[in-house]
Amino acid sequence: MSKWVWLLAAGVLWGPDAFGQDARQIVEESQRRHRSQSQQYEGVLEVYDAKGGKNEKRWQYARTGSYGQSKSVLRFVAPPLVKGVALLVHNHPDRASDQWMWTPELNRDRRIALQDRSTRFFGTDFSFEDLEERDVEQSDYRLLGEQVVGGQACYQVEAVPRKTRVSQYARTVIWVRKDILLPVQFEMYVKTELVKRMVHRRVEQVQGVWSTLELEMQDLKKKTRTVLKTEKLKYNVTLPEERFTLQALRRGE
């Protein structure tokens, strides 16, 4: 199941309660509603350690294509020591994504192996797997009930990855706002233990699309958290396909 990128990239906007008790339908409809041809934004990443210390980075994000087949580039722009470091992600509907990292100081790229995706994404509380988009077909869903989260009535949906899918998580519980069908909270389990919680703090409409503009990922074991703020979010911008290649990554485009 995709996580924050899945949601951010889609600019989630789900309609009112029209899907009864079918969890899978809820997810499918969510994806359908938030499909966009492309997207770009500037992100601010704030990593808080267990003692409250803060580390901030900024990046630019661009995506082309839609669910399961999208390609995206994430390039850090600040601080200076990480400027130019980039991550290229090619998502696939039927298998895990391909990911490459570019380090300009070394003047070379490296492939992020599938097996490495459960590791933390550069010291944040996200893992590389959290950056992937997953097709709805890659999980089984179950409606657990309804709950109020942040003052909003939500569906509580459980997503369990299918055997064909490699995931660090045994299951993920998602709270989806009933009014706009926007997920506002995720809880991820490794085996039976709750390890992470992601909360969507700021939700606004951008170009008519309900979008999360600030979210927080909490690592419940390490007691750390990462806040992602999205700025200058735009949908359906013209982005050339060549920009999402390894060659472009190396050129710093």
Binding site: V47, D49, A50, N55, L81, M101, T119, G123
Partner: protein, 850 residues
């Protein structure tokens, strides 16, 4: 037990000094055994610990010998369904410019995935303390060090740490400090982590990794996955558990282990004679005691058991003390041995702690016990056979019967005949070593006879020197050959060991110096490392290309050495430009046609192997040699064998083009440079500096530097043999002291009578001194003769099972002469104490003795 307490203990108390001297042989033998093996074990353990601690959760490691392999292999391995996680690794040793001395082991990994295998417990318990994991990856100067290393060098996060790299001294930034854990204790805590892709640049690896560490999917057996991966990758790749690296190092350093075994067994063997001698004397002295016991109803078995029990207790005490002393010896030598093995084999380890293996200690104690029991067996049996009636009669207790002597001689000649046969049909190891041991036994059996002859021969000389004392000393030896034969045998064996070791060392030096003269004849060398056996650093091909074109260079030869497994053992492959080498170097040919072999090898149609490789791996010219390369198996004929001492385990010389083609590696370990007439090394050093000095780090070695370097390592290696020589001398001196102590006790009455009839104290002293020096002289002469045989066997052992070096037999006459003052002087010194005891004892007691 009661007999032990009532009889043996009383005897020991009465002859405490002699008892202590008796067990001293065992103490020394066991101490040498434990010391040398514990030191070796500590080095091995240090290496294995480093491997284990670095391995973390790694179940399998993929290597292609030391050559490394292209990055693409990683993707193939990661894509294998049986593999849960696979990460690239580069391992290198670098020299930091820090206040604390010692190298730093660099473990370069891909931090994006490596945590699946290794736990990097960081200070502050949080990733954020690697100031920033993204910065760590983004900046090639990032390095993570251990808390121990940081404390030792006063380093903190974000401090600079300078390491020597391919680009010269390179400044790194400490971007993480690891908490103490299993990983951080690897290499004695001198461990640093850096990004594998940055390491490629720093250590000149190009786009290659040294190895891949991996863990298999849950539920799968690593051995089976290993086999499947080997099939997938091809024979040039080795997929093994991390622990097998320890075995490889063990295999590399097996020569040292064998040397330690020989030394300690020899020390024990000599010690055995001391014990035999003491017990033989004790049995003779205690004949009346034995007679009384037998008369009171003690059985023969009980008498034998009594003496064996005494020996067992002595052996146990000696072995226990020896084990303790051995651990102390190991503490003293583990560090330097680690450095030596590191220099010889280029393997990273740091032996700081001595690990005493309980099994080794138990084995050593058992060895001491068995040696003691074996030594006491014959005297104990003789004691059991004592006739009670004869035993209670006084006198005539030192006689060695003519029949006994004849039996020994016959047995010795039978042994010598068998030795001769073994030399004719001595191809097999068992027959050869059987012959070796039989020759020692034959010599030992002949000691009483030969000793007697020599003593008789020396009598006129001794009498001429000091008429009274000389005659008394000679007569004492002639009348009591049994009393002295043990000491003489021990001394002769020690001298023979010294002659053999000295001869072997002399021959080895001569051969190595000759090889240095022939093989290492360039004017200068360029190396990426100060330690020429360290293969962590390499020059890229571009470096060599630039150097080759420098004006004033007549010829360059690029050399890349790498260990690859052959018959399961790591063997040095030396890839060089054979056509060029052929014009400058002609290694002595052992087998094959010199011109043809160089021509064919230059064309890549075969390999030339060193003689020591051929001997150790039982290969001959004309046979096919299969090398497993990353590009698949490479089968080439052995074109010939040459004398080459590049590596103790042997070397395979092949053309650089073949190496590049099959190993896909164009890096260089050493550039050999021949200069044009009139161009000096100093000038060329400047030209190299002007051309590449700003971009590459290199070390210039002159021809003389390199020779000194190799001779320094050779000296260190043969330094071990000096330990053997020292042990041999010490044990033999103990033997003389023991013999004289026994002799004086034995002759108290005789010496008392001498004093009573007016003999001066100085005359008594002189008698004992002369007796000691005569024992020394007899032992020395016999030792010279035995040494001549032992040298032959030592050279054969070296060629067959140690280094494969075929050394020329040259008797070390100079060393033999040096031994004259050493042995005679030691004999004299060892007589001082016993002589004083003899003259200071009570005359009345002496006359009442017995």
């Amino acid at each position: 037990m009661i007999l032990l307490r009532l009889i043996s203990w009383q005897y020991v108390r009465k002859h405490l000094l002699r008892s202590l001297l008796t067990i001293a042989g065992i103490v020394l033998g066991v101490a040498v055994f434990v010391g040398m093996h514990t030191a070796n074990q500590s080095v091995l353990t240090a290496f294995t610990n480093t491997v284990d601690r670095i391995a973390g959760a790694t179940q399998l490691q993929i290597t292609a010998g030391e050559a490394g392999f292209a990055e693409e292999i990683l993707e193939r391995v990661q894509a294998a369904p049986e593999v849960r996680v696979a990460v690239p690794v580069i391992e290198a040793v670098a020299t930091p410019e820090t206040r604390a001395k010692g190298n730093l082991l660099i473990l370069a990994v891909d931090m994006t995935g490596d945590r699946s295998l290794r736990e990097y417990a960081l200070e502050d318990g949080d990733d954020s303390f690697i100031e920033d994991p993204l910065v760590f990856l983004a900046q090639p100067d990032s390095i993570m060090i251990t808390r121990e290393f940081a404390a030792e060098n006063g380093l903190r996060a974000n401090d600079a740490l300078t390491l020597r790299s391919m680009d010269g001294p390179k400044r790194f930034v400490v971007r993480g400090i690891m908490k103490s854990s299993g990983l951080t204790s690897a290499f004695g805590g001198n461990l640093a982590i850096m990004d594998v892709y940055a390491a490629q640049k720093v250590f000149g690896r190009g786009r290659r990794f040294d190895r891949i560490d991996l863990a298999v999917q849950e539920g799968l057996r690593p051995e089976e996955v290993g086999k499947r991966l080997e099939q997938m990758l091809g024979a040039g790749y080795q997929v093994e558990s991390p622990s097998s690296r320890g075995k490889q190092f063990e295999s590399l350093s097996s020569v040292y282990g064998m040397l330690a075994n020989i030394t300690s067994l020899f020390a024990l063997f000599i010690g055995m004679f001391i014990i035999y001698n003491s017990f033989a004397i004790a049995v003779t002295q205690r004949r009346s005691e034995i007679g009384i016991l037998r008369a009171l109803g003690a059985t023969r078995g009980q008498i034998q058991v009594l003496f064996l029990a005494e020996s067992a207790v002595g052996g146990l005490i000696g072995a226990g003390l020896g084990a303790g002393l051995g651990v102390l010896i190991a503490r003293g030598m583990a560090g330097s041995l680690g450095n030596l093995l590191g220099e010889i084999y280029g393997v990273a380890q740091k032996a700081e702690e001595v690990s005493s293996d309980p099994r080794l200690l138990a084995g050593a104690v058992a060895l001491g016990l068995v040696t003691s029991l074996v030594a006491a067996w014959i005297p104990a049996r003789n004691a059991a056979r004592v006739d009670p009636v004869q035993a209670l009669q006084k006198g005539k207790f030192q006689l060695l019967t003519a029949g006994e002597n004849r039996t020994r001689r016959v047995l010795a000649f039978v042994f010598l005949a068998l030795v001769a046969l073994s030399l004719v049909y001595g191809e097999g190891r068992l027959i050869f070593y059987g012959g070796y041991f039989l020759s020692i036994f034959a010599g030992v059996l002949l000691v009483p006879t030969l000793g007697l002859w020599l003593a008789r021969g020396l009598r006129p000389l001794l009498k001429a020197i000091r008429p009274v004392e000389g005659a008394l000393a000679a007569d004492s030896l002639i009348q009591s050959p049994r009393r002295t034969s043990g000491a003489v045998a021990a001394l002769a064996l020690s001298v023979s060991l010294i002659v053999a070791l000295g001869g072997m060392t002399q021959a080895a030096y001569a051969s190595i110096e000759e090889w240095l003269r022939i093989a290492l004849n360039p004017d200068m060398y360029l190396s990426p490392s100060q330690n020429l056996t360290d293969r962590s650093f390499r020059f890229p091909a571009a470096f060599a290309e630039e150097v080759v074109k420098l004006p004033g260079v007549r010829r360059t030869q690029l050399v890349r050495t790498v260990r690859v497994p052959v018959d399961g053992e790591p063997v040095m492959v030396v890839s060089l430009e054979v056509a060029s080498i052929r014009k400058e170097v002609r290694l002595p040919v052992v087998s094959g046609d010199g011109d043809r072999m160089y021509g064919e090898a230059a064309a890549g149609r075969g390999v030339i192997v060193s003689d020591n490789f051929a001997l150790q791996h039982r290969r001959k010219a004309g046979e096919m040699l299969r090398l497993n390369t990353p590009e698949g198996p490479l089968e080439l004929p052995i074109l010939g064998t040459v004398v080459d001492y590049s590596d103790q385990k042997g070397s395979i010389l092949l053309d650089r083009t073949v190496y590049q083609k099959y190993w896909k590696d164009d890096s260089v370990n050493v550039v050999r440079m021949y200069l044009e007439e009139g161009v000096t090394v100093a000038q060329m050093r400047d030209r190299v500096a002007a051309q590449v000095g700003d971009r590459y780090k290199y070390f210039v070695f002159t021809n003389e530097d390199l020779r000194s370097y190799i001779l320094k390592i050779t000296d260190q290696w043969f330094g071990l043999t000096y330990i053997q020589i020292a042990v041999a001398v010490l044990v033999s001196i103990l033997g003389i002291v023991n013999t004289l102590t026994v002799s004086i006790t034995d002759r108290r009455r005789e010496l008392g009578v001498l004093q009573a009839v007016g003999g001066l104290r100085m005359q008594i002293r002189g008698t004992i001194w002369l007796e000691a020096v005569t024992i020394g002289a007899i032992g020395l002469v016999l030792g010279w003769v035995f040494g001549a045989v032992a040298l032959y066997y030592a050279l054969e052992t070296s060629a067959r099972d140690l280094s494969g070096m075929r050394l020329e037999y040259t008797y070390p006459f100079r060393m033999a002469l040096v031994l004259i003052p050493v042995i005679l002087g030691s004999s004299f010194l060892s007589a001082l104490g016993p002589a004083e005891t003899a003259v200071r004892g009570s005359l009345v007691e002496a006359l009442e003795y017995e």
